[in-house]
């Protein structure tokens, strides 16, 4: 983020074209150092590469195979898996059309994940700010409280939310007893329920990196900006946000990626109708018995994540650059 400007590089004299023996020796030493460091990290690299790319490779291969009748794959090359990601064939007359159902689910996944990220920023930013501005001792208490939800199983947390928002749940009961509403509000099995669940689950992943960035913030800079006639809002926009941007980006990535692939939350709170990508993929490996399609969908998810991240980081950086 703080790439050195060319002007700095200019201050270092370029190496002289005619190299002296001493320089060569130094070069040799550096090369040796590089070689040793590669050798030393080789085992770790090996584990990383195989653990990360191995499964991915399997998924890639499966996506180009034919589906077995009872799940699994048949070892014959087939484009059927990828075909079905975007297109569908009518079962009666074999006409080919766009796979609307899939596109709807893609779009819902992306939309809900972006909304979740936005909600987490909206809630997480003030929360992180609150914690970062407490005294040193109470900060630790607050951070501890923030992490409490992580102690419980995701499924249990999701069911807890269900208990709050279902028709006979806490919210509806209270509102009905108070006479505010006559009939329970349908909150379960809606996008709202999914958003609520995901924001609740992923909020700490936004708060923690934001807090880490804010804790490092030099609060004297904020005073300096106040002193130079910046209103509170402008201090936030011009000083605080640019300076905590690394935390903001990290938090957004940590929230957006798992949201996009979320499985448990949309399953429990969204029901079968409001599927997200994770559920669609699971369906292919389970009831759908179409592993190649499942594999192709998984890779599609990966591509969506990467494209979205590249866009996001670009936009944030461009905005920062245009302001400077």
């Amino acid at each position: 983020m703080h790439a050195p400007k060319p002007s700095v590089d200019a201050s270092h004299p370029a190496p002289a074209p005619a190299r002296t023996g001493a320089l060569n020796l130094a070069d040799e030493a550096r090369k040796r150092e590089v070689r040793t460091s590669w050798l030393l990290s080789a085992p770790a690299l090996l584990v990383l590469v195989t653990a990360a790319s191995g499964p991915l490779l399997i998924v890639l291969v499966y996506s180009f195979l034919a589906a077995g009748d009872y799940g699994g794959v048949v070892w014959s090359l087939s484009g059927e898996g990828w075909f079905k990601v975007f297109l569908s064939r009518d079962i009666f007359d074999d006409t080919v059309g766009i796979a609307d159902a899939h596109l709807t689910i893609f779009w819902r996944s992306v939309r809900l994940s972006m909304l979740t990220t936005l909600i987490c920023i909206a809630l997480g930013f003030p929360t992180a700010w609150f914690i970062a501005t407490r005294s040193r001792e109470s900060r630790n208490v607050w951070l501890f409280l923030i992490t409490i939800p992580f102690w419980t199983n995701l499924l249990i947390r999701t069911f807890a939310i269900m208990e709050v928002i279902r028709s006979e749940g806490i919210v509806n009961t209270v509102l009905m007893t108070a006479g505010v509403i006559e009939r329970p509000i349908q909150m379960m099995y809606t996008d709202f329920a999914i958003l609520l669940g995901m924001a609740y689950v992923y909020l700490p992943l936004m708060v923690l990196p934001l807090y880490a960035a804010m804790e490092r913030l030099d609060f004297r800079l904020i005073e300096a900006a106040y002193d130079l006639y910046a209103s509170r809002w402008r201090v936030l926009r011009r000083i605080v946000v640019p300076l905590v941007k690394p935390g903001l980006i990290a938090g957004s990535i940590l929230v957006f990626i798992p949201s996009l692939g979320a499985y448990v939350t949309p399953r429990v709170l969204g029901g079968g109708k409001n599927m997200m990508l994770g559920n669609l993929i699971e369906l292919q490996f389970g009831q759908g018995r179409n592993w190649p399609l499942g594999a192709a969908l998984s890779l599609t998810l990966l591509v969506i994540v990467m494209v979205a991240l590249i866009f996001y980081v670009r936009i944030v950086q461009k905005e920062a650059a245009s302001r400077e």
Partner: protein, 363 residues
């Protein structure tokens, strides 16, 4: 001083941190009037409340009681961004994500000045602090002295009515500090802005200020021109903190602006007396070492004693004398070439005091 000449008026300001048993009075009943376009210095030891007073004027904190006026208007409760007052922070507090030029233009931009005006003022400020060549550098890519000048330019750019400077030169080396001192004085006279300057360097305070307020433990002990503060310190702390001083016990015979005093040696002499002090009474007096001179004989000497030590300092020589009436006394004499030292330790010497060299202290 008429009302219209006053820029900042601090009246009866107290600042308390904490509550109950742990309450700490950082400032107790501080009152001071600062004139327009004055170079006013707050001088005092570490922890005496200089920064606290500056922060109250800037608006980062609000007084526990008392009020602060700017040009006759009460500003005690205004936010920092509502006051035409800018600060040069002790730590500079430059924005690390902006260039030098962006830092300098920030205040004007926040005041929603037109882009052209901002650019013009930034260019002007850059040349004022001689930083044109580094306008596009990031602030973490320039030296400490350059950062300091950027901080100064940033605070000056919106042309505030008052500029607060919190030990802005303390991080600089001696040579650069001297240059910046001259620069600051030039800026002050060129811009017509009131400067409130904080330092705990007495030499810096004496050379730069129109007036100095000497502070200790949350109170202002004395306000005056450098000459007044140095020549006529009214309290032991002031005399001790600024320069060196000899302290003696004496008997004040008559009061008034210049009263008569009887020293421990029995010698009677004229002395400056703080306002409103009544006589007769026992008092402490302060005498600067360079306001006294050694005489070889005892006749017409104010004090007599034995020479204990001679310390050569290059520019001057210090003579340590054990007084006949008890206590010790230091006389300072400027050195000049061709004058050989005739005195030896152990010699009986007299000390003569010039007119108005004796200052009576309040405590």
């Amino acid at each position: 001083m008429t009302e219209s000449e006053i820029s900042i008026r601090v009246s009866g300001v107290t600042k308390t941190f904490g509550e109950g048993a742990s309450a700490f009075h950082a400032l107790s009943d501080v009152s001071v009037d600062i004139r327009k376009n004055e170079f006013f210095t707050l001088l005092g030891p570490s922890g005496c409340g200089k920064t606290t007073l500056l922060r109250l004027i800037a608006g980062f904190d609000h007084p526990t009681s008392g009020r602060i006026e700017l040009d006759g208007e009460d500003i005690s409760q205004l936010a920092p961004f509502q006051r035409p007052v800018n600060t040069v922070f002790q730590s500079y507090a430059l924005f690390p994500h902006m260039t030098v030029a962006q830092n300098i233009g920030f205040g004007l931009e926040m005041l929603d000045r037109p882009k052209a005006e901002v650019a013009a003022t930034v260019a002007q400020m850059l040349s004022l602090v001689r930083m044109e060549a580094l306008a596009d550098r990031r602030t973490d890519q320039i030296s400490g002295g350059q950062q300091q000048r950027v901080a100064l330019a940033r605070a000056l750019a919106p042309h505030p009515k008052v500029l607060l400077l919190d030990e802005p030169l303390s991080a600089l080396d001696y040579k650069l500090r001297k240059d910046m001192q001259i620069e600051l004085k030039r800026l002050q006279s060129e811009t017509g802005i009131t400067f409130v300057f904080v330092t705990h360097d007495q030499e810096e305070a004496l050379t730069m200020s129109d007036r100095i307020a000497v502070m200790n433990q949350g109170t202002i002990l004395q306000i005056g021109s450098p000459r007044e503060i140095y020549d006529r310190p009214e309290q032991r702390f002031v005399a001790d903190f600024i320069g060196d001083s000899n302290f003696l016990e004496a008997e004040l015979l008559t009061g008034g602006a210049s009263g008569r005093l009887r020293l421990g040696s029995g010698h009677e002499i004229e002395a400056s007396v703080p306002e409103g002090m009544t006589a007769p009474r026992r008092v402490s007096v302060s005498i600067r070492p360079e306001h006294a001179a050694l005489t070889s004989g005892a006749e017409d000497a104010a004090l007599t004693g034995t020479l204990k030590e001679i310390v050569y300092f290059g520019t001057d020589t210090h003579y340590h004398v054990a007084l006949g009436s008890g206590g010790s006394f230091i006389v300072r004499r400027q050195n000049s070439r061709g004058v050989t030292e005739t005195l030896e330790p152990g010699a009986a010497v007299g000390i003569s005091l010039g007119p108005r060299s004796v200052q009576v202290l309040r405590d």
